[in-house]
Symmetry: C2
């Protein structure tokens, strides 16, 4: 089995599971309870939050723990009270909530990068938030967050000079980037940052939103008042402890990972027939998006599955509904190009031998499919 869909899901690292285990068993207490063993669990929970925060250059108190990136993205959108801008290639958990609040889409260029001219043009005085993912989940394209942050600062200064009091926040979903980039909220210049445990070999059902000092959010749910009243419900202690261990491992290995994946990526691009879609300069090192124009990528997925190679046509949640990728449309691909595109995402379940083998199998399957099509 060769799994090349690490952008869709990652297995829980054995070290992560080991860190979680005591909190299912002997350390099961409710962190809000008054007796000492529960207070120790509460302290461990805060330490775990601090560890997660530390990996992005923040404090534990800056994080709101959520059930995943989707909830974190939704929570981020409670900050603006008027117009928001979002990149047209954002994940549905940003796009759909942005659209509900009358958001306006900012275009991307053919290379998947934000169209800064379009962003500048749409950045009117009514805009309160810009949401741009650090790395796109279908293409792996890394957006120039620092450049956008500089623009945000410039606009804030200008608004101040003109006596306009409306806030301007920068939100970024960093879910896909945490294994590959050294993410730091100060360097990125973001006010809100979405993190996801399930993409960094941590447990599913856990995520977090980094919230800069002074940014006001509204709770999506009310109740016992956990997470500073922003996210009520008994804390998922094992989940957060596991998330923390996963973040530490990701953070620790980020340089090694980049090098390793860049090497494997080069192998794939050298050996694979097919047209590379995204310039590797602006792309996460574990993403390879290839296009087999004229072929049906969904058929390729099934043919590859029979050979034990698991790949994707796009984001898993969109793929399951048979919807054409809005991301591939946005970068200007034709219907035939979209229909023939595969996303291969490398990860910790792979080794170099697998990468060579996968390239060979994909080439064979593609050749067979072209033959069948008479192409």
């Amino acid at each position: 089995m060769i799994y090349l869909d690490h952008a869709a899901a990652t297995p829980v690292d054995a070290r992560v599971l080991r860190a979680m285990e005591p909190y299912f068993g002997e350390k099961f207490y409710n962190p809000s309870a008054a007796y000492l063993p529960a207070k120790k669990v509460s302290a461990d929970y805060e330490v775990a939050k601090a560890k997660i925060a530390h990996c992005i250059g923040a404090k534990g108190a800056d994080l709101v723990i959520t059930a995943g990136a989707t909830e974190a993205n939704n929570l981020a959108f409670t900050a603006p009270t008027s117009k928001v801008l979002y990149l047209e290639t954002e994940h549905d958990s940003v796009r759909r909530v942005a659209q509900q609040y009358g958001g306006m889409a900012v275009r991307v260029l053919a290379n998947g990068l934000v169209d800064m001219a379009d962003l500048r043009a749409k950045l009117t005085d009514e805009v309160e938030m810009i949401s741009v993912s650090l790395a796109n989940n279908e293409l792996g394209v890394i957006q120039p967050l620092a450049e956008i942050a500089a623009l945000v600062r410039e606009v804030r200064m200008d608004r101040m000079r003109r006596g306009i009091k409306r806030q301007l926040l920068l939100h970024s979903d960093a879910s896909q980037a945490l294994n590959l980039l050294d993410v730091n909220v100060a360097r990125l210049g973001v006010d809100l940052l979405t993190l996801n445990s399930a993409k960094v070999y941590g447990p599913k059902g856990v995520g977090a939103l980094y919230v800069a000092h002074g940014v006001k959010l509204l709770p999506l749910t009310l109740g016992g008042g956990q997470e500073n009243g922003l996210r009520s419900g008994t804390e998922n202690v094992p989940g957060v402890v596991g998330f923390a261990r996963a973040m530490e491992l990701a953070h620790e290995h980020v340089n090694g990972n980049r090098k390793k994946y860049a090497g494997w990526r080069k192998i794939l691009l050298d050996e694979l027939e097919g047209h590379e879609l995204i310039n590797r300069k602006h792309c996460l090192d574990n993403f390879v998006v290839v296009c087999y124009e004229g072929l049906d990528a969904e058929r390729l997925v099934f043919a590859l599955e029979e050979r034990g190679v698991y790949v994707a046509t796009g984001a898993a949640c969109a793929a399951s509904k048979g919807v054409r990728s809005h991301v591939l449309s946005a970068i200007g691909l034709s219907e035939a190009q979209i229909a023939g595109s595969l996303r291969l995402t490398l990860g910790e379940t792979n080794d170099e031998a697998q990468i060579h083998e996968a390239a060979a199998i994909i080439n064979e399957v593609v050749a067979a499919e072209r033959k069948r099509m008479g192409a």
Copy 2:
């Protein structure tokens, strides 16, 4: 160590953890992915939902999986568009959201049961939902849901006869009851029912809302469209598989549990000095609420902790904020009675010897405290 706070948290049963383990590791796939191993995980997820639903006499498709009871309660409150009634002794995750939507509190009697006369009086034509927990989380009082459901049916008929089209829904938070009562949505007559994994020896961070056919909800979060569009985000597969195993075990042992806990409860009530607060006829068999008027229950909690006995003064989330229990106020206790009340909740970490020992230790600690107070 004698843990008598099973209403606050339960450890994950070893059989539950065993059921979850494969889904952290080899079965880690994203259920939305297109290849076969992911589709198998998706099928396993649906089977788990069906198992949970089966335990309450429903189908898997009737459930929306959430991150816990708090989110499920909040989701339930998206159903009504106008006035709601809720019991004044409800958990904050019902109370606070009900209050936000202009809810009106229904009184309870001194025994903690719903005041049916007050409910009838407040059940005007504007009311769209009534929210009454099956068993209260501080007292264990079991509410007459079937009687309330009969009233709801009667009111619906009357509204229909008078040409009033407004819906009337019955919601119940069953979190505390699932180990002790055979919960069946048809028999209870509820339209919406909240379930909680963490109270039935399942993992934290998982819950569900049962939604009867035809009841319309609004999503709290938007995104990939999972859970029929009502709760987006990659499914927490291990969590839900664990929740299902925990529900099966609870369901299977409900009669044995009742008998066992009723026996232990009798031991405690026979051996404990102190005044029993709630009539055992209307109370979950694992709840014992005792009052030591004139003493400070918070001091008792700490003194008992030193002797290795862990008990609560009220709900863990309220207790952590030093807020006087709104539940004990609602049943008409004086400030001194509230301040002197302990909640002991029995569970699977206990055995009969522990119960005798706990009673002796509590008596000793109470006697010492009375002596110290010169009472």
